[in-house]
Every structure is written in structure tokens, then in C-alpha cells.
């Protein structure tokens, strides 16, 4: 007898939960829930993106979930975070994959679970089921870096110049796209420039500084450094200042950390290539909300937001506009 009562109670509880759940799903005034999952949350690029995402989420009445590994830009830590997010059943997911193949399965699993997925900044290999892919024009940013280095060293045809590139990882698609753009511009316009080496910092600015110090020994005639992201820019700037090489070696960095923007004025950076991560996040939320509410796909799936070159000639207003703001 006791057992049958227990079973009846269990059935009624399950039934009540199911009813409640279906009630939730049916309610149309439930706010849309959108999750952002990125690599290293500490990266100021993502912090700046968060500012834009929060603004847009507030304007659209969207509940925002913001989650990434605190400081590791790593597939191994990002995949479980995506799995966890899928379990929370958001309406939309903005994924910033740390690796194009490593995150493919998690990306597709979210889509299979009925979540509208956007890729921002970096992307998975197969984008066919993704609502939108929004990125800064990294290829063009790389080309702009080549132009800035060439201008600084007074590039003349017939002369030879050594440059090196500091990256964070060999697989981050933004790093790869910037490097490709940089290489293409050099091949097309500056045949005298040779990219002698690339090295990885794995998100640690101390490693980035150490790489630059080693390069200074290895290439005594080093003409320029392309520091492909904020971490490398910080490390390279510190190494050149410590060795009293400010202004003697062309240093082009990426990402407008406030501290690095200040270093344009003092001549440490020849130029910084800046993206607009806040604009990327705003557009991602807008597109996903439109898709979730109206089931409307964007007219164009892939959107490219231009990069800008910040240098000593950039107006104060523009510098302010593109400098990343912390929360």
C-alpha cells in the first residue's frame, strides 16, 4: 500500500513539474535569454564586448548570460562551459570559439537543442547552421599593420627588412586571419620585408615580453614587430621600453587597451589596430533577437566590421571612441 502511495505522489509531482514547464514555454512575455561564451574572459577585448552586449541586452529587454574561462584561452575549458550553457536552455547563444574544429561539436549540439547560435569574432569551421557570423575585418587589420610598419621604417624598394610577429596561439582564427592579411600585404606591396619568425604567448604577457627579448638577440637588425593582440602588444611594449628601443623598432599592436593607447603618444607604439568589439556584440544580440522573435534570418549571414588604425595623427575624439572601456 505504502509503495502505491509513493508512486502516486511521484507521478503527481512529475506531472506538476511538466505542467509548470510547459506553462513557462508557452508564456510569450518571458524575456529572451541569450548567452555569450568566449575564451579568456579576462581579455579586455571581451570586456569591451561585454559593455556593448549589456547595453544592447538592456535596450532589447534580453536576459544576458556571460560566461567564459577566467583567463585560459583554451578549447579544453570552453567546451564544458558551452555544454553547461546548453543545459540552461537559453534562446540564443553567441559563441566565440577558441578553435574552429574543437568547438564545432558543441556549436552543433546547441543548434540541435533548438538554440539560435551566432558566431562572433572567431568562428567554427562549418558555419552552415549558424544564424550569423560577425567579425572585425582581421585580414584588413593585418594589412593595415603592414602599412603602418612600412611607413615607420621608411620602406624603400631594393632594401631588406626583418620583422617578427607575436601571436597568442596558432589556431585562433582572428590571429590566423590577421597574420594572413599581414603576409598578403607584405607579399603584394613590400617584397623587401621578410617575416623572420612567429612565436606564441599563450595569453601571458610575460611570455610575450620574453619572446621579444629573444628576438632582439636573434635579429640584431630587427626593423619591426607586429604584436597581433593586446597581450602581445603589452609584452612587446614593455620589452622595448626596458631595452631603451622606444621608437627605434616599429611596433604595431592590436586592440586599444587604454594603457596601450597612451603609449602611442609616447612613441612606444607606431600604431595600434583597433576593432570595435562592442559594435560586434550589439549587432549579434540584435540579429539573434530578430531571429528568435520573427524567425527572420539576416539578409547577409556574414558581417564584417572594419578595423581602424590609431596612430599619432589620430584625433583625440577617435582615440576615445575606440579605446576599450572596462566595466
Amino acid at each position: 500500500m505504502k509503495r502505491s502511495i509513493k508512486i502516486a505522489a511521484a507521478i503527481s509531482i512529475v506531472g506538476a513539474i511538466a505542467l509548470a514547464a510547459s506553462g513557462c514555454a508557452g508564456a510569450s512575455n518571458q524575456p529572451i535569454k541569450i548567452a555569450f561564451v568566449m575564451g579568456a574572459e579576462s581579455d579586455p577585448f571581451f570586456q569591451a564586448m561585454k559593455v556593448g552586449a549589456e547595453e544592447e541586452a538592456k535596450a532589447e529587454g534580453v536576459t544576458l548570460i556571460w560566461q567564459g574561462d577566467p583567463s585560459h584561452y583554451d578549447v579544453a575549458t570552453e567546451v564544458p562551459i558551452v555544454e553547461n550553457i546548453i543545459a540552461q536552455k537559453p534562446d540564443g547563444l553567441v559563441l566565440i570559439p577558441t578553435d574552429p574544429d574543437g568547438l564545432q561539436a558543441a556549436n552543433d549540439k546547441a543548434i540541435a537543442a533548438g538554440i539560435a547560435v551566432a558566431n562572433v569574432d572567431t568562428h567554427v569551421t562549418d558555419l552552415s547552421k549558424v544564424v550569423t557570423f560577425i567579425t572585425g575585418d582581421n585580414g584588413d587589420g593585418g594589412a593595415k599593420a603592414a602599412d603602418a610598419i612600412a611607413a615607420k621604417i621608411g620602406y624603400t624598394d631594393g632594401k631588406t627588412y626583418d620583422v617578427v610577429v607575436g601571436l597568442t596561439s596558432a589556431t585562433a582564427t582572428t590571429n590566423v586571419a590577421r597574420l594572413d592579411g599581414f603576409k598578403a600585404a607584405i607579399a603584394a606591396k613590400y617584397p623587401g620585408i621578410t617575416i623572420q619568425d612567429v612565436a606564441y604567448s599563450a595569453s601571458n604577457p610575460q611570455t610575450a615580453a620574453s619572446n621579444v627579448e629573444n628576438w632582439l638577440t636573434k635579429y640584431p637588425n630587427l626593423a619591426g614587430i607586429f604584436a597581433i593582440d593586446g597581450t602581445n602588444a603589452s609584452g612587446a611594449a614593455a620589452a622595448l621600453q626596458a631595452k631603451n628601443l622606444t621608437g627605434k623598432i616599429a611596433l604595431v599592436g592590436y586592440d586599444a587597451y587604454p594603457a596601450n593607447v597612451e603609449l602611442i603618444q609616447s612613441g612606444v607604439f607606431t600604431a595600434l589596430i583597433a576593432q570595435d568589439p562592442a559594435a560586434e556584440a550589439r549587432l549579434a544580440i540584435k540579429t539573434l533577437v530578430d531571429y528568435i522573435k520573427n524567425k527572420k534570418s539576416p539578409a547577409q549571414r556574414d558581417v564584417v566590421i572594419a578595423n581602424v588604425t590609431l596612430d599619432a595623427n589620430t584625433s583625440a575624439a577617435d582615440l576615445k571612441k575606440y579605446t576599450y572601456v572596462a566595466n
Binding site: 579576462s42 596558432a170 606564441y200 610575460q206 620574453s210 614593455a238 626596458a242 587597451y257 566595466n327
Partner: protein, 348 residues
């Protein structure tokens, strides 16, 4: 039996040599230097590469020293890298947001601010060490999980406090530039190897090493790591001593945060990212056993040097730095193999 005594087998010779841990490590280091020098066409064997290696050694050594103490006591500390990040950021925060100092303050003018930065960084490290101690000794959480928790919390707090951006403040880069013997032209003979801060890190290492090998602090550490029950039976307060170890470890990681601050000219929230694994690797390569009770400070000092030499060497010979992980893996496997051989021989 008689045959065995007449000739010493090759295996026995190897076993005999591996008893001298420090000699073996120095040999590995020398081989690496010779290989990298020949493959780089000679550039590797230069004062400037040496000073870069020592600068990096200074960045890692205190984390490795902290790890060595903990590992010898039979624990593990996954939080050293994150503690570095948090400490460097709190130091930066106090100078930049608290005192409104900027990177325009340089040279000797920056020294008072830097002294304060060192103090703040060490206190932050001590705080993390205290949290580790509470989790391990009072809440009885195993060190792996306890320090995994503080690792996450410290890394997260570093981001929150800094807003995810480097806090650029006053610095004096000459503190991390190598000192040169005056009167000698560096173009003829470059004497610049050791920077003032690297010398400071070496002195701190020496002091901790003396405490480990010559004082009661070390005796207790080895006793607890070898056999915690015997140590307790001998009257050692396990909780009090492990608290000391994690506090010292925290303070050392905090001082490493100060080093990162001076080197980068500010507090950057990812300055310690990934460094805990290298601290553990350096400790193991140096001959410490993760089972506790075994390890030498000299081993860790050279183990760290070996890791950094591999990192610099691969870059100097133009091999993709991805290979670093593989070389490090081989070194760790080799170190553990040597340990196993020693155990068979009954050597500690």
C-alpha cells in the same frame, strides 16, 4: 653472485650516476646549451640570451620554490600562477587607482611606489596562502581541490579588480635590466647577465633553501611529507606547519607578482596564466616527488633553468614553440624515471 661482484654492469653504473641528482641536472642543462648553441650557429651562447633566460628564470623561480615546499610536504598548490596574477593586479590597483600614479613616473622616482607595490603584492599573496591554509587545515579539503578553488577565485578576482586590462603604473625598467661591470665596453665583453631583481629573487631562493635544508622548518616539512602519522607521533603540529608552508608559498607567489609588475610596467591580470604547470614541472624535473618527502632546492633552481632554456632555445633555433610542450613532457618523464631508479636503489 660472485660474477656480479666481479664486474659492475652498465645498469649499475647508470644507477650510481643518477644518485647524484644535481650533477645529472647540470649535465642535462649543459647538453641543452651545447645543442642549442650548435643549432643556432653560436648565437645562443651569448650574454644577451643568458640575460633573457635569467630574466625569465626570475619570473618563474619563486613560484617553483613555493611549489617545492608544498610538494615536499606532500601537498600540491595549483594556485601559484593565479596568486601571481592577483598580486600584480592589486599592486597595480593601489598605485594607479588608489594613488593616481601613472607610467610617467619612472626611474628612481618610482622607487617609493614600487616598494609599496612589493608590500601590497606580498600581502595579497599571504592572504591567498591563508585561504589555502583554512581550506586545507580547518575545512580538511585535499590540497588539490582546495588550491584549485583558490586558483579559480584568484584568477577571477584579478580580472574583476583590473577590469580585464593591464593597470599601467610607475616603474623603473632598469631594475630588470642586467647590471654591467662599469668600465668594460659591452660591445667588447658584455658582462650584463643579472638584473637587480633577478639577484633579489636568487637571494630569496637562497634564504628559503637554507630554511628548507638547514632549519627545523625544513626538517618538519620533510617529516610531514614522508610520513604524516610518524610526524604527528613525533610531536609536530601538522596543521600549524602546513599553514606556515602555504603562507610562505603565498608570499613567494605575491613577490613573483611584484616581479611581473616591474617587468611589464604594470599589473596585468593574465601575468601568471599557465605558470602553475611550469612551477610543478620545474619542481618534478628538479627531483621532487609528488608523493612527498623528496626534493631539493638546488634541483628546483636548475629544473626551472632547464625549462626556461628549452623555451628560449627553441625560439633561437627557429623551432615552433609548440615543441616546447613535447620537450617539457620528455623532461618530466625522464625525471620521474630517474626517481623510480633511485627508489629501487633506496636513495632519497
Amino acid at each position: 653472485m660472485v660474477d656480479g661482484k666481479q664486474s659492475i654492469s652498465f645498469r649499475e653504473r647508470i644507477q650510481g650516476f643518477t644518485r647524484n641528482q644535481t650533477a645529472l641536472l647540470v649535465l642535462v642543462l649543459l647538453i641543452l646549451i651545447v645543442v642549442f648553441t650548435s643549432l643556432s650557429g653560436g648565437t645562443f651562447l651569448s650574454t644577451s640570451v643568458g640575460s633573457t633566460i635569467l630574466t625569465d628564470w626570475g619570473a618563474y623561480i619563486l613560484l617553483a620554490v613555493a611549489e617545492t615546499l608544498v610538494v615536499i610536504s606532500g601537498g600540491i598548490d595549483l594556485s601559484v600562477g593565479a596568486t601571481l596574477s592577483l598580486s600584480t593586479v592589486t599592486a597595480g590597483w593601489v598605485l594607479v587607482n588608489g594613488l593616481h600614479l601613472t607610467s610617467k613616473t619612472t626611474g628612481v622616482d618610482a622607487w617609493p611606489a614600487l616598494a609599496l607595490a612589493a608590500l601590497v603584492a606580498v600581502l595579497t599573496g599571504l592572504l591567498v596562502g591563508a585561504v589555502n591554509s583554512v581550506l586545507i587545515n580547518i575545512l580538511k579539503i585535499v590540497p588539490f581541490i582546495a588550491t584549485l578553488a583558490t586558483f579559480g577565485a584568484a584568477a577571477g578576482m584579478a580580472i574583476i579588480i583590473s577590469g580585464g586590462m593591464p593597470l599601467q603604473g610607475p616603474t623603473d625598467f632598469s631594475l630588470i635590466n642586467p647590471l654591467r661591470i662599469p668600465g668594460l665596453d659591452p660591445k667588447v665583453f658584455d658582462t650584463g647577465l643579472f638584473s637587480p631583481l633577478v639577484i633579489l629573487m636568487a637571494l630569496v631562493t637562497l634564504v628559503v633553501g637554507l630554511f628548507l635544508h638547514k632549519a627545523r622548518f625544513g626538517l618538519y616539512t620533510y617529516a610531514i611529507g614522508s610520513n604524516v602519522f610518524a610526524a604527528r607521533a613525533a610531536g609536530i603540529s601538522i596543521a600549524r606547519h602546513t599553514t606556515k608552508i602555504y603562507l610562505v608559498g603565498g608570499a613567494l607567489s605575491g613577490l613573483a607578482g611584484f616581479y611581473a609588475y616591474v617587468r611589464l610596467g604594470g599589473g596585468s591580470p593574465t601575468s601568471g596564466t599557465g605558470m602553475e604547470l611550469y612551477a610543478i614541472a620545474a619542481t618534478v624535473i628538479g627531483g621532487a616527488s609528488l608523493m612527498g618527502g623528496i626534493g631539493r632546492m638546488w634541483g628546483t633552481v636548475i629544473g626551472t633553468l632547464i625549462l626556461i632554456t628549452v623555451q628560449s632555445g627553441l625560439l633561437m633555433i627557429g623551432v615552433a614553440t609548440d615543441w616546447k610542450q613535447i620537450v617539457v613532457a620528455v623532461l618530466i618523464a625522464g625525471a620521474v624515471a630517474v626517481q623510480t631508479l633511485q627508489k629501487k636503489n633506496g636513495v632519497r
